[in-house]
Structure formats: structure tokens, C-alpha cells
């Protein structure tokens, strides 16, 4: 799917040179999120004729005259029958400037679990509010989840401006209140945009009704917000996924460590430490998918060769720069995802980067109310959609970074040993 209007005039190589932005949307039931997402897809010409035809057909069957753009994001039959969204859905659209992957998270059922999931890979979160209601409890919840998951950019989309006569003071008051709350949570970049998803104001096309707003539309902002962090400012982290040893006539002695750089830049000649063993060596060479290079950076998938023949396997971390101290005592903020509760004393599996180890839940010092951020001391267990603080003891040491400094090497999952259920999402270190 792509925008046809402008894309037609671009060559294949120009189309291929665009960047990729992963973002998430969050809003409560009546904030118009489905309409907004439908509007983004429709107005960026990402909705193709057969999809629109299906929506028109479904709208007529329901007795609606105009095609209901919200139906574009409707998913499974089970959901249509119940009129709800069960799950995170991924949407794809493109403009000539950028490719987008949208994690569309439902606002109501199992809201925290779904939003945590969508936010975990997002570089930007759109939090939607109804201009008539302003910042409500759900808005605070969405801001808290975006802050907890360290989504680098947050957009406050103040929707339904048409229903408040496109009045600037309404927008300014909501933007100020949200900005102050987001700042208290440690969100660094908040951008507020007044929109009407239904009327199309400032979503793709600039609004003719809000002269007082000088900024770009939502889509323009999505197209221009910086993607990714600067790897040259981060220490290199390279979790080993797989050891490549061809043992062939052509490559009898090749031994390379395959992985994806979680952060930072690696160069041939760099001194690195292999964790948790703590052995120091140097990078002898880097192969980027079959081609030899002398530099690689996050998030490239590469193969690293080391100067010394040391025992390295899947689960080890090759690190440059200040390295984390491997530990068996993990303190983390968690979001509990499963229906079965997480209790003190539970024995679980902990999956961190490419390493899975046994772990025991030693303590749950407190649960966190996602609405008020108040702490509930010693809850004993965490239930589905609960946030909390957890102390774990692992069977083997882990080289964990603080989640605040590294989303990829600071995150982990807790998994049920018996049936493999994903129980809990963990973020090492302090929450906010």
C-alpha cells in the first residue's frame, strides 16, 4: 500500500530510500481513534479500492449511509460480532517521505496489556483526547504507559475541535495540562496538535478552521519527527543469537557471532567485553550479511568476528563502552499480561535478549495504580493489567542495562515454565 498521488512521480530508488517510523495510537472508546486511523489511511491514499468497497458494503448492511471509516480498522469476525477490538492490530501506510507501521491499540478491554505491547516497539505514541472532555483518567493512563515504556516522542492529538468551535483557548488549556503531567512522568518530547478526525482538520490536510495554529498536520509531524536515536552516543550492545561456523572447504576456520546490534556502533579493532564471563578481546572483523565492513551500528543485523578464540554462545552479550555488571538479583518495573496472577514465590523463566534463565519471584514490594500512579504496598500478587515493582533472583547472572538507558537490553519477559505462557513484561530499574 502506498500513497498514489505523489508516489507516481517517484522512481523506484527514491521510493526505496524512505525511512521507517513505528508508532502507536491510544485513546479511549469515544475519542474517535478508529476514525483518526481510518482518516490517516484514507487521506494518505493507503486504502485501496477493494478495501473501501468492503467497508461501503459493511456500512450499508448496518444501515449507515456514509462509509464508516472506523470499519477500515475492524479486524476479526469475533470482534465484529462483539463490536469490540480484542487485540493490537498493525497497519501499514506510506507517503513518499516515510513508511509507517502503526500499532493500533484498543482503548477498553485489557487496555494496559495491549498498549504496553504496542508501545514496546513504538518510537512515537499518539494519545488522543476529546476536546470537550480534556485530560481524563484514561489520558493519564496512556501517558503513563508511554512514559513507562520510554516511547521517545508523544503526540497529544486534541480531537473533535469542530465540537468546541475550533477555539484556541480550549486547545491551549488541554495542551498545557497534559504537558505538565507528561513532564512529571519524564516524557521528553510532547507535541500537541488540534485536529478533527471526522472533518479531516489537521490530520493530513491543514485545517481552514484554525488559523491560529501554525504547526504542521499530524501526518506532516509523523513524516518529519526524527527516527531512532544517535547510535554514536550509546555504548555498543550486541547480544549473540547464533554462532556461524561453516566448516566448509572455502571457510574451514570461520567463526562468527550472529546478532542484531541493540545499541551503539561497533568498529573493527574495538575493544569489547564478553558478558557475563567478563573476558576482554577485540573485534577482528564485521560481516554485514555476507559483506565485510569495518563498522556496524544499531539496529543492523551483522556477524562479528573476534580476535581471540574464546567460548562464546547464544545468550552472551558482546559490549563496548561502560558495561553492565552481571547480576542474579533483578529489580524491575513490570506490566503483568496474563490472566493468571504473578505471586511471590513463583518460579518462572526469564527471557532477556537472547538468554533464557530460571528465576524466582522474591518480592513484590508494591503495585502501581496506572491511573493515579499511587503505590499499593505488598500486594502479594499482580493481576492482569497491573503494573508493579518486582524483585527476582535468577539462576544465572544477566548483563542487564537500565531500561531507561536501553530499551532492548533493559527489557525482559517472564514466561510460565509449564505451558510457555508469556506472563509479564519487565523493565529493569526505576519506573519513572
Amino acid at each position: 500500500m502506498t500513497s498514489t498521488t505523489q508516489a507516481d512521480s517517484l522512481t523506484a530508488s527514491e521510493l526505496a530510500a524512505t525511512s521507517l517510523l513505528r508508532f502507536a495510537t491510544a485513546g479511549s472508546v469515544d475519542d474517535g481513534k478508529s476514525t483518526l486511523v481510518g482518516r490517516l489511511l484514507h487521506d494518505s491514499k493507503s486504502v485501496l479500492a477493494d478495501q473501501l468497497e468492503a467497508v461501503e458494503h459493511a456500512s450499508r448492511k448496518r444501515g449507515q449511509e456514509a462509509p464508516d471509516l472506523a470499519l477500515l480498522t475492524d479486524g476479526l469476525r469475533a470482534e465484529r460480532e462483539q463490536g469490540i477490538t480484542i487485540d493490537v492490530a498493525y497497519r501499514y501506510f506510506a507517503t513518499p517521505r516515510r513508511r509507517f507501521i502503526l500499532a493500533d491499540t484498543p482503548g477498553h478491554v485489557q487496555y494496559t496489556r495491549n498498549m504496553v505491547t504496542g508501545a514496546s516497539t513504538a518510537e512515537l505514541a499518539v494519545v488522543l483526547v476529546d476536546a470537550r472532555n480534556g485530560v481524563v483518567e484514561q489520558t493519564r493512563r496512556h501517558a503513563a504507559v508511554a512514559a513507562l515504556l520510554r516511547v521517545p516522542h508523544v503526540v497529544l492529538a486534541v480531537n473533535k475541535m469542530d465540537l468546541v468551535d475550533y477555539a484556541e483557548p480550549v486547545f491551549a488549556a488541554i495542551a498545557e495540562e497534559f504537558g505538565a503531567y507528561a513532564a512529571s512522568l519524564g516524557v521528553r518530547d510532547v507535541t500537541a496538535i488540534p485536529i478533527s478526525a471526522l472533518a479531516g482538520d489537521n490530520v493530513v490536510e491543514p485545517s481552514a478552521n484554525m488559523d491560529w495554529y501554525g504547526g504542521p498536520t499530524l501526518l506532516e509531524h509523523l513524516e518529519t519527527v526524527p527516527v531512532g536515536s544517535d547510535p554514536s552516543e550509546e555504548p555498543a550492545r550486541f547480544p549473540v543469537q547464533y554462532v556461524i561456523r561453516p566448516q566448509s572447504a572455502e571457510h574451514p576456520d570461520y567463526r562468527g557471532y550472529a546478532g542484531q546490534l541493540a545499541s551503539g556502533v561497533l568498529r573493527t579493532g574495538d575493544q569489547v567485553t564478553v558478558l557475563p564471563a567478563g573476558i576482554t578481546t577485540t573485534v577482528a572483523g564485521i560481516d554485514v550479511l555476507g559483506e565485510e565492513r569495518d563498522i556496524a551500528w544499531a539496529p543492523q543485523s551483522v556477524t562479528v568476528r573476534l580476535a581471540e578464540d574464546i567460548d562464546i554462545s547464544r545468550g552472551d552479550l558482546i559490549a563496548a563502552g561502560p558495561a553492565p555488571e552481571p547480576t542474579q538479583d533483578v529489580v524491575a518495573t513490570v506490566a503483568h499480561l496474563a490472566e493468571r496472577p504473578l505471586r511471590v514465590g513463583d518460579k518462572v523463566l526469564l527471557k532477556h535478549t537472547t538468554r533464557t534463565v530460571r528465576a524466582i519471584v522474591k518480592d513484590i514490594p508494591y503495585a502501581i495504580s496506572v491511573d493515579t500512579l499511587e503505590q499499593v504496598e505488598r500486594p502479594g500478587s499482580l493481576n492482569v493489567n497491573d503494573l508493579g515493582r518486582v524483585v527476582l533472583r535468577t539462576a544465572e547472572p544477566l548483563a542487564l542495562d537500565d531500561y531507561r538507558s536501553n530499551r532492548r537490553t533493559g527489557s525482559f519477559l517472564l514466561i510460565d515454565q509449564a505451558d510457555g505462557t508469556t506472563l509479564t513484561a519487565g523493565m529493569a530499574g526505576e519506573a519513572f
Binding site: T4, S19, G75, T354
Partner: protein, 313 residues
């Protein structure tokens, strides 16, 4: 830490380390292949000779270079395959020294374990031989070329998708998938479907084919062919059961956007005979590839959802 509500600025900072979207998608897919190689005993790549499975194999070859791909290929042969595609498959297997398993729909029909459908369509019949091959070869991870942009039931599919001992997909009981931490735990008898191209679109696939100069079966490019019209699609005349009475074959300039069973995969009118022309055509297209070319998805609003639940690709 300071936070200021800011109005957005139009100019984005140029980042010398920025990856193009194709590089980002490639890095993600390679990571997925290597995760499976690291955690599973007996993975297999579903290989139909269609462009998505060809791109999957290309990514796997890059992921493990200079070693060979540590997976076998599995082709579910409907018995109604395009000869050009089978020839391509066999060339590829030889060129890269791969192991190929073939699960044959025809054999299942001949032995009475499957019955031909009245409409002659064999795509839905692939599920039984597929699950049989997975079970008898004890494959624990099965790579599929499915993309989330293809169809709404696929939009909610996980990258690692657990299937029970019946091969069934239960959309309500999927594991949440966070960061790039994939949970591949499964019980004996269960397997995991893995979709490395989850986040790719049709256009991404074509752009990648262009960038990497990947050879495709020639039916993807415009050529003259005897076709006849059924359900608004151009189908190739052939032994599989067409044209029927009242359907007239004619010679047209066409190409295929997807490659599947000849009985339900339609050609589109096209003069795009080069990769650049195909990309330009797709960028300007007003129909999704499944809407344009797949009769099996037109059967009902939830056709794909139903087939996926039963264990389809």
C-alpha cells in the same frame, strides 16, 4: 529533565546512521531467522516459488552467510502449479544445495484422504497435507511468507504464532509480543509458525527484489497467455478444469501479482515487463494483491480467518 510543549518543527535532523526502511525490515527479518535457528530443533521454510517465499529464502541465505541455511524447504504442491514456478523451485534447490520436502495434494486426493471440491479450487485443500508434513517430519518451527498488510485476519497475527497439536490458530489466545523478544516455547506436538515478513508490504517486497536483484519466476512479469474470465479474474486455461462451457479463452498481455494454485490465482492485465515497471504499477495500484488475484479470499468476509484457524499458512 526539561519538557516543553512544543509545536512541531518541519525539518527533521539528518542522521548519518539512519537506516532506510528496507534496511530496517531486512535487519528485523534476519534477527527473526537467527532467533529460530538458536531456539528450535527442526525448522522448515514454506517455499511455494512465490515472491514472498523467494524473499524469505534470500533473507535466510544472507542471515547465515558464509554458512549454508540451517533449514530445509517444504513445498505444498497442489498439483495445479504453474510449470514455470516448479522449474524455478527445482533450480533454486540445486543452486543452493537445499533439502526439499514436497507435500502433495494430489497424493492425498488419489489415496482418498482428501476430496476434490466441486469448484475445483485446491488452495483450501493444502491445509491437510501441510499439517501432515509438519507432524510426520516433526517440524517445530515453520516459516511462512505471510504479511500483515495482506488481509485483516493477518493484521493480528504474531511474528511467532503458536499452533496446537491440531495446527489450529486461536486469535483470542495469542501471546502478547513485546520488543523483539519472541516467545517460542511450545509443548511436544505443537509447533510455531514464524512470519519474518510480518511488517513488510507488497511494495516493500518488490523494492527489495529490485534492490537485491533477486530472480523471480517469469510469470510475475507481463507476458502473453491464454486466459479466460471467471468471477472477474483472468484464469489460465489448463488441465485443472477450465475453461468450462460458456467461458472463452483469449490471448492477453498479463502478469501474476501472486503465485498460488492455478485454479484460483488470477492474472492481471499488465504491460509491466520489468521490475521498475512492476514497482510503478504497484505504487499506482488501486487494489490489494489479494483482492485482485485471489478467489479464495473472496468467498466470504472471514475466509482467511477461517482457513487460518484450521491451520492454513
Amino acid at each position: 529533565m526539561t519538557t516543553a510543549i512544543s509545536l512541531p518543527t518541519a525539518a527533521a535532523q539528518d542522521n548519518p546512521y539512519a537506516l532506510s526502511h528496507l534496511d530496517a525490515l531486512e535487519a528485523e527479518a534476519v534477527h527473526i531467522f537467527r532467533e529460530v535457528a538458536g531456539e528450535f530443533e527442526n525448522p522448515v521454510i514454506l517455499f511455494s516459488g512465490g515472491k514472498d517465499s523467494i524473499v524469505m529464502l534470500h533473507l535466510a541465505l544472507k542471515a547465515f552467510a558464509p554458512a549454508s541455511v540451517p533449514f530445509a524447504l517444504l513445498h505444498v504442491d497442489t498439483g495445479h502449479n504453474f510449470p514455470e514456478v516448479l522449474a524455478y523451485r527445482d533450480r533454486t534447490v540445486t543452486e543452493h544445495g537445499l533439502r526439499l520436502h514436497v507435500a502433495s495434494v494430489q497424493e492425498f486426493i488419489d489415496s482418498g484422504r482428501l476430496r476434490e471440491r466441486p469448484d475445483g479450487t485446491r488452495n483450501p485443500l493444502q491445509t491437510v497435507p501441510l499439517l501432515d508434513a509438519i507432524e510426520s517430519n516433526r517440524f517445530d518451527a515453520v516459516f511462512g511468507g505471510g504479511r500483515r498488510d495482506e488481509e485483516k485476519a493477518r493484521a493480528k497475527e504474531r511474528v511467532f504464532s503458536l499452533r496446537d497439536e491440531f495446527g489450529a490458530w486461536d486469535p483470542r489466545r495469542q501471546r502478547p509480543e513485546l520488543w523483539s523478544l519472541y516467545n517460542g516455547r511450545h509443548a511436544p506436538g505443537e509447533h510455531v509458525r514464524v512470519f519474518p515478513l510480518s511488517n513488510w508490504t507488497e511494495l516493500d517486497v518488490w523494492q527489495y527484489i529490485e534492490r537485491e536483484k533477486i530472480e523471480l519466476p517469469e510469470i510475475y512479469y507481463a507476458h502473453e497467455r491464454d486466459v479466460f474470465q471467471r468471477n472477474g479474474m483472468w484464469l489460465t486455461a489448463g488441465e485443472w478444469g477450465g475453461p468450462k462451457e460458456g467461458e472463452t479463452p483469449e490471448r492477453r498481455l498479463v502478469r501474476y501479482r501472486t503465485v498460488g494454485d492455478m485454479s484460483c490465482t488470477g492474472a492481471v492485465d499488465s504491460d509491466a515487463d520489468t521490475i521498475d515497471a512492476v514497482i510503478a504499477e504497484i505504487a499506482a495500484s488501486r487494489l490489494t494483491e489479494r483482492g485482485a488475484t485471489r478467489a479464495d479470499d473472496k468467498m466470504s468476509e472471514a475466509a482467511m480467518e477461517d482457513r487460518k484457524r484450521e491451520g492454513y499458512f
